[in-house]
């Protein structure tokens, strides 16, 4: 294994710098973690260098230097504190030692030529007893990493914006040095001090250097370093990227060193901290552009932009009163247009199916209804001998639905005349699924049936231990469904032979979905399962706070599902991690449907919801007169759904 393999920092040139978990000290070296083995030769308090600089305390020990708090004895009447940075060499390799020494000398030489309130002043530089020392202005205060740690969360926008302006100023100063710009190259919270009066000071110039436009050594700190630094390019724009990364860290408390490099755009600032203004987010986003050319052209340009962000603009008082925060009128939630409503004689728990310009839906008044999709006019109905909670489906020219009377009915699509019935022993609450000419459906009689769609005859049946209310999912030559016995079943579609069954802790009423070799289904054990479609083993589980009777809908890289806990969840297919959730405050057993980037579902509060599928933001909400357990169907810009208020609704999507 290469010795270079150390996470956290790319300062690999024999510097042996401690890892990122080490605390930063106030003067630009780092204090190694307790586990650090290297022991620096620390001088004891009382030692005096050059007859002038007395050691008082150790501030920090880094990979190649120790920083002490000291006192300049030449000022006898006043206490003039200073920082004493001592370089020591631990690297066994003489080339490395030489390089280290050069770095140290460069830092000293560089600092000596600079004069800026945000850069520590150099008082002295000398060699004594074979060691090299740098005497620096002692900066009172804390570094930003410490400030962030102590805050335990994101820092306030205004405070960070003020620091950002100061950092832009000092970067402008460095970048405008002649004959060559100086690139700081290691901007990060631990290299920025903030004094008690909120003044910013850059520390640790160990690697800042004049710009030489050739492929150089890659130096910087992973997580903050710009991508081009890995190609050996160090331009002033690299400092702006690192500044952007630093600000992102301060405003989100999300440490870029523990994230995948260059993923800031995947973790938008305001998604992690919605309180940040969009204006400041935009400034930082531009600094974090992957491409150097699309970042701010200069630190000064970035500074100008920062000054226009709300917290600083309102402070400067130049512009009129900014809108007070949180004063956005919380007006009525947007609703949508009711296109038509059709009233039946009992609750509508069934979900609509739209086909051939008609909406088919079952009702507890025992009827299967066919309505005109555009105007909601009655076309026909077919009366079964029990209520209908099963949802109809259309195959060729027949509509198929199950009934509480125990039968599965097939009616002529246009006239509603009966083609065939298939009787089971108990109510049929599962909904039919069709592949080729075979209809798959479960029954409360504990059987799962494959029925010939042309004649209504049984092809095979499979017996479980409890009623089957889940509806099938067909993928490959397997058919998947859940059972009241808590099992999820995978059967051979051709003969009903069991391929696998996987137990959940409670009955499964939710209907499975298939995506990326996974069978995804909810259970009354509060969990959404993603099962290996070939073996049934749980790949991941996502736990909600109540029954998951809603049926999952995979879409894109996510799967969407509701829970009786009141939330609609967007869950990553890949790993079962939550993307977003929307809280209705009311039970959800309806299943989501997605059309044109919008997600629709109903809830027990009587509302039909329309959310932005990307982020779960509410677009509109329409209130019906009763709980909505029906799953919407969307067609031609209309959302069809049933309600327990006995009506079927067509709403503008």
């Amino acid at each position: 294994m290469a010795l270079i393999k150390k996470p956290g920092t790319t300062r690999s040139i024999g510097v042996g710098r401690p890892q990122e978990d080490a605390e930063a000290d106030p003067q630009g070296t780092t204090v190694p973690g307790a586990g650090q083995r290297t022991v620096a030769p620390v001088m004891q308090p009382g030692v005096v260098l050059q007859g002038r600089y007395a050691i008082e305390d150790t501030l920090g020990i880094g990979g190649m230097s120790v920083v002490y708090r000291g006192r300049d004895l030449r000022f006898k009447d006043v206490v003039r504190p200073c920082a004493i940075k001592e370089m020591y060499q631990s690297a066994p390799d003489s080339n490395t030692r030489l390089l280290n020494l050069k770095n140290f000398e460069r830092e000293a030489g560089l600092l000596a030529t600079l004069q800026h309130p945000a850069i520590p002043r150099v008082y002295d530089f000398f060699e004594e007893h074979g060691r090299v020392y740098l005497i620096l202005e002692l900066i009172q205060g804390k570094d930003l990493e410490t400030v962030l740690d102590e805050a335990g969360g994101p820092l306030a926008e205004e405070r960070v914006a003020r620091w950002a302006v100061q950092l832009c100023e000092v970067l402008t100063y460095l970048h405008n040095q002649q004959p060559e710009p100086i690139v700081f190259r290691d901007m990060k919270p631990s290299n920025v001090m903030v004094t008690p009066d909120e003044r910013i000071v850059l520390i640790d110039f160990g690697i800042a250097r004049g710009l030489v436009r050739t492929r150089g050594t890659v130096i910087g700190t992973e997580g903050y370093s710009p991508p081009e630094q890995y190609k050996g390019i160090a331009e002033p724009q690299g400092d702006l990227y690192a500044l952007g990364a630093t600000l992102h860290h301060l405003l989100t408390a999300s440490d870029p060193r523990t994230e995948t490099p260059f993923t800031f755009h995947e973790r938008p600032l305001r998604q992690l901290n919605p309180v940040v203004s969009p204006e400041l987010e935009a400034v930082i986003e531009k600094a974090l552009s992957y491409d150097m050319k699309t970042r701010w052209a200069s630190a000064d340009e970035m500074r100008q932009a920062l000054l226009q962000t709300p917290t600083l603009r309102s402070q400067s008082g130049a512009s009129g009163a900014a809108p007070a925060k949180g004063a956005t009128p919380r007006g009525k939630v947007a609703s949508t247009e009711l296109v038509w409503r059709f009233t039946c004689e009992d609750e509508v728990r069934s979900s609509p199916h739209v086909s051939n310009g008609m909406v088919f839906i079952g009702c507890y008044d025992t009827n299967l209804y066919a309505l005109d999709a555009g105007r909601g006019e009655f076309r026909w109905k077919y009366a079964t001998e029990g209520g209908i909670s099963s949802s109809p489906t259309v195959w060729n020219d027949i509509v198929i639905v199950g009934s509480e009377d125990g039968a599965v009915y097939a009616c002529d699509l246009r006239r509603g005349t009966l083609r065939w019935t298939f009787r089971t022993g108990k109510p049929v609450r599962s909904s039919p699924r069709v592949l080729e000419r075979v209809i798959f459906i479960g029954s409360d009689d504990q059987h799962f049936y494959a029925i010939d769609g042309l004649r209504g005859s049984q092809i095979w049946k499979y017996r479980t231990w409890m009623p089957i209310r889940s509806s099938a999912c067909i993928a490959g030559d397997s058919v998947y469904f859940g059972g009241g016995d808590g099992f999820v079943y995978a059967l051979n579609m051709k003969n009903g032979g069991v391929r696998w069954k996987q137990r959940t802790q409670q009955p499964v009423i939710s209907s499975p979905a298939f995506a990326e070799n996974m069978v995804i289904v909810g259970s009354m054990d509060y969990t959404l399962y993603a099962l290996d479609s070939e073996g049934g083993w749980p790949i991941w589980k996502f736990r909600t706070n109540h029954y998951v009777n809603s049926s999952p809908l995979p879409f894109g890289t996510r799967v969407f599902v509701g829970s009786v806990d009141g939330c609609m969840y967007a869950i990553e297919l890949k790993n079962g991690k939550p993307g977003w959730k929307y809280e209705t405050g009311s039970q959800i057993t309806s299943s989501p449907r997605i059309e044109q980037g919008r997600l629709y579902f109903g809830a027990a509060d009587g509302c039909v919801y329309c959310l932005d599928v990307a982020n779960g933001a509410l677009i509109w909400r329409y209130e019906t007169g009763g709980p909505v357990v029906s799953t919407p169907a969307i067609s031609e810009g209309l959302v069809y759904i049933g309600s327990l208020d006995h009506a079927v609704y067509a709403l503008r999507a």
């Binding site: 956290g8 790319t10 083995r37 026909w380 000419r437 075979v438 003969n495």
Partner: protein, 329 residues
Amino acid sequence: MDMNESDTSGQPVDPPPAAGDDAWWSSTAGDLDGTRPLDARSVMAQSSLPPDRRPGDTEPLEELEGPRETPPAPLAIVAAAMRHIGQVRQNNQDSVYTLISSVPRDEGDATLGLFIVADGMGGHDGGEIASRLAITTIARHIIAELLAPALEGVINVSLQALVVEAVQEANRAIWDQARLTGSDMGTTCTAALLLGRSLYIGHVGDTRAYLIGPAGIHQLTTDHSAVGRLIEMGQLDPSESRDHPLRSQLYRTVGQHPEVSVDLLFQPIGDATHLLLASDGLWGCVDDDHLARIVQGIEAPNRAVRSLIEAANRAGGPDNISAVLVRLA
């Protein structure tokens, strides 16, 4: 609905049999293959079986209910692992692990495999200790949480979570040990759990998992180096990764921080013939196509693995070389 009332007698309307119908079910449907008009009463009769048998009823089920699925034969897999010190290093900081077990299941036994390569780093003996701790912790965790219950016929744990937890537990074990001894040790770790015909791969660092099949060699994992990330973003050419001076600089390792985020891949094996786990001492010296040629050219995994290690040594063997090769078919 008046016009329908007369039709609710339940008499099915016989459609004409579909001509030339050779749908998949027609062969298994026996006398229901569409050649004989169906009597509605026979349908009724079918459903008159007592529907309310209770759970726990001893009556056999599937036997009654038509054909039983012929269980697919479990995967006949063979694995070989090897680690080699290479030509330059003074010690071998890599660790490898393999386990293959069958798991009994009513519907046919399944194969369970666990394959791990860990590439340790850190001064003194830290690298060896870290990589060894990684494989032992992960193996112990998976044996206890998955294999032992599976032998009892229960697999109810979330497999992604299991693999992630196992690697995180290894992370804690190494971190704790490092704090105790003042070491900076850490390790890469790529752990592949095979269950049935799917792989669950937990991954931290730059040890790689490859699937090799008719379509060639496919790298499943992404190296946790800035270089790897730049390649993933299309900013560096993959061929540059072998020579980049910072290739080995990892932003994520096992054991060097109190917490670690673990990449998890779910990968059905499909028609792949081999799974290969390789430390950077192997993939850094032997390019992907060469790896695939060796693996596909040698039937026995143990000889193929030896040949892989030899190839890396011929290329200079600058680092420890480790590989686990699993023949899946």
